[in-house]
């Protein structure tokens, strides 16, 4: 099996020869090609060259399309702030007043520069690697997309306190979501990752998700022509997984908190992404406020882990040390430390996992120094370009 076949086997519920392994290396390609990020996120050729290097060095089973949600803000008419060492952020949104959404046009995927950039980047990656490597598209679910129109604060305010306006905006934006995600499949992605930036337990209570988001997500996902993988965006996600698992075309989800790989009660073909997994055990990563704080969550996770099976997992390692990206969940050292803090076996399990994962896709290339935890970042960061 090559990487694409391996990933597609998992997505279709079949057993691959081994679990696919990848890393979050969308941004990292810029570091490998020394490409300024303004160019990297606007020139499809520059992005694809970065991913060429990612593949050459790391040989992951999955390559990611540009993973920068603010590109959608730009597509709607917002402006971005570019940095030297992290993906762009939305500087000014297209909408200052949510009620003015009627004055905007939905971006045209054939002419809008941001969308054309994403399409061409995927097309180039597909032409160079698509037969051999799975390419992940990156979209945004329709309930979270309005964040890119007006910012999270205004969207939350609108969603909570102006129900009719919120529904009008969601009704307006949904056709764009469906058209765009289907275009990503037409361009050659094996699956589309959807960062659920709004519908997370950190932002919206379960009752509102059930009553107001799920019906809309169900309707939107029904028209999609390929597998969707939900992405946690770094926020806690486990409490809503049972809701999302029932949505059409959803084949998995990741969680930076290392939450379950597979849902109880969900058919066996479901694949759940996790940062770090090994033989049904999950090392807990992500954000920790203080030791012992999330004891209930741990117990829930441990119960759910028993449902997961090695064959149906995909390993995605967080990784951005050279560029020092700043989302807490992207810090492997912190994940390691926090895992150790809670489980005595955590550090060892993580290391075994990294070694196991590394040995497979990297064909023996030195990945980390066994047992040398402090050298983890150094060893990983020093892989020759």
């Amino acid at each position: 099996m090559n990487s694409r076949e391996r990933m597609e086997a998992v997505l279709s519920g079949n057993i691959p020869d081994r679990p696919p392994v990848s890393m979050g290396l969308s941004l990292y390609g810029a570091g490998l090609t020394h490409c300024p990020l303004l160019k990297y996120y606007s020139d499809p050729g520059a992005y694809a060259s970065g991913q060429d290097q990612v593949r050459r060095i790391f040989q992951p089973d999955i390559l990611f399309a540009p993973f920068a949600m603010p590109l959608y803000a730009q597509a709607f008419g917002g402006t971005l702030r570019f940095y030297e060492n992290q993906p762009p952020n939305m500087k000014t949104p297209a909408l200052l007043l949510p009620k003015d959404f009627h004055s905007l046009s939905l971006p045209d995927p054939d002419t809008n520069p941001s969308l054309v950039y994403i399409r061409r980047a995927i097309r180039t990656m597909r032409s160079r690697h698509g037969g051999e490597v799975a390419i992940a598209g990156v979209g945004m679910d329709p309930v979270s997309l309005p964040i890119m129109l007006m910012g999270l604060d205004k969207w939350l305010e609108t969603f909570l306190f102006e129900k009719q306006l919120a529904e009008d905006i969601l009704g307006w934006i949904q056709p764009f979501f469906r058209e765009w995600v289907n275009i990503l499949f037409e361009e050659g992605t094996s699956f589309v990752a959807l960062p659920m930036a709004f519908t997370t337990p950190a932002i919206v209570p379960r009752k509102l998700v059930t009553e107001r988001c799920l019906p809309l997500l169900k309707q939107a996902f029904e028209g999609i022509n390929g597998p969707l993988v939900l992405h946690s965006t770094g926020a806690p996600f486990a409490r809503f997984l049972d809701l999302f698992a029932q949505l059409p075309n959803v084949r998995g989800g990741n969680s930076t908190a290392g939450i379950p790989l597979k849902m109880p009660g969900k058919p066996s073909e479901t694949v759940w992404f996790s940062w770090v997994t090994l033989r049904g055990r999950t090392v807990i990563g992500g954000q920790w406020k203080r030791p012992g704080k999330n004891a209930g969550q741990f117990s829930r996770i441990e119960k759910m882990i028993r449902f997961s099976s090695w064959e149906h997992q995909v390993l995605i390692f967080p990784w951005r040390p050279l560029l020092k990206s700043s989302m807490p969940s992207d810090d492997p050292w912190r994940i390691l430390k926090n895992a150790d803090r809670k489980f005595s076996w955590g550090g060892n399990c993580f290391m075994r996992c990294v070694q196991a994962g590394a040995a497979l896709p990297l064909q023996g290339r030195p990945f980390v120094s066994a047992g040398q935890l402090p050298s983890f970042q150094i060893a990983y960061g020093s892989v020759p370009a």
């Binding site: 702030r81 909570l160 932002i203 209570p205 704080k293 020092k324 990206s325 700043s326 989302m327």
Partner: protein, 226 residues
């Protein structure tokens, strides 16, 4: 121990039911006064709400927004009542300057902070997103703020707070002008407070009210601002 009405309002907030929470307060204030509702319902309920959030119980940003909206409604009612009765308005605790540090555009946390600081009696100057170090200090000196509250979500942006630390110290204001730092990244990286030179942080907008009071008091012990 919360009273019956306090428990009922808290329960509605936990359900995310703003209309029901306001209905309960309106009914209670009908035979009393909104100004009493502020001290006898709002303050204890918000305190308990903040404690539950702090303990990591299943509360979301929406809960915080809804609680803020209810509090804002009650403060407006109380203010209207004071004007109608010609009674003296609540005395302000002091002046604060807040903003997102240079390069940071994540305003949601700052906006919640502003709402809860204002509700608790602070006069807040909100400088918005992407604020330079010298702008923070200039404004603080202009309005007599003893505490600057600076927010950042991303690690790389949070490092820009070091410039603000240098600006405060460089002008000889260390101690007299306190630096409160906050944002998601400070929760996941507690050591970052020291790394950027912060004088303190709070885990959420509710707890930030206590932090500001503490830092303000600390500042007064260090002498007058220029």
């Amino acid at each position: 121990m919360l009273s019956d009405i306090q428990q009922q309002v808290l329960a509605k907030l936990m359900e995310g039911d703003r209309v029901a929470a306001i209905g309960l307060i309106d009914e209670w204030a009908l035979h009393r006064a909104y100004s009493r509702a502020v001290t006898e319902i709002l303050e204890p309920v918000l305190h308990e709400f903040g404690e539950q959030w702090y303990r990591g119980e299943e509360l979301s940003l929406s809960h915080g927004y809804i609680a803020g909206k209810v509090a804002q409604y009650l403060m407006e009612k109380s203010l209207h009542e004071q004007k109608k009765n010609n009674s003296a308005p609540r005395k302000k605790k002091g002046v604060l300057v807040i903003g997102n540090i240079e390069d940071d555009y994540h305003s949601l946390g700052r906006m919640m902070l502003r709402r809860f600081l204002e509700i608790s009696g602070w006069h807040v100057h909100d400088l918005g997103n992407d604020v330079l170090a010298e702008e923070f200090v200039d404004k603080a000196l202009e309005v007599g703020a003893r505490v600057i509250g600076v927010s950042a979500m991303m690690y790389t942006n949070a490092l820009n707070i070091r410039k603000l630390r240098r600006e405060i110290d460089g002008r000889g204001l260390k101690g007299r002008l306190q630096l409160a730092v906050g944002g998601a990244i400070f929760i996941s990286r507690p050591g970052l407070v020291r790394e950027v030179g912060g004088d303190g942080t709070a885990i959420n907008a509710f707890k930030s009210v206590e932090l500001m009071e503490r830092l303000w008091h600390k500042s007064t012990l260090q002498g007058e601002l220029p």
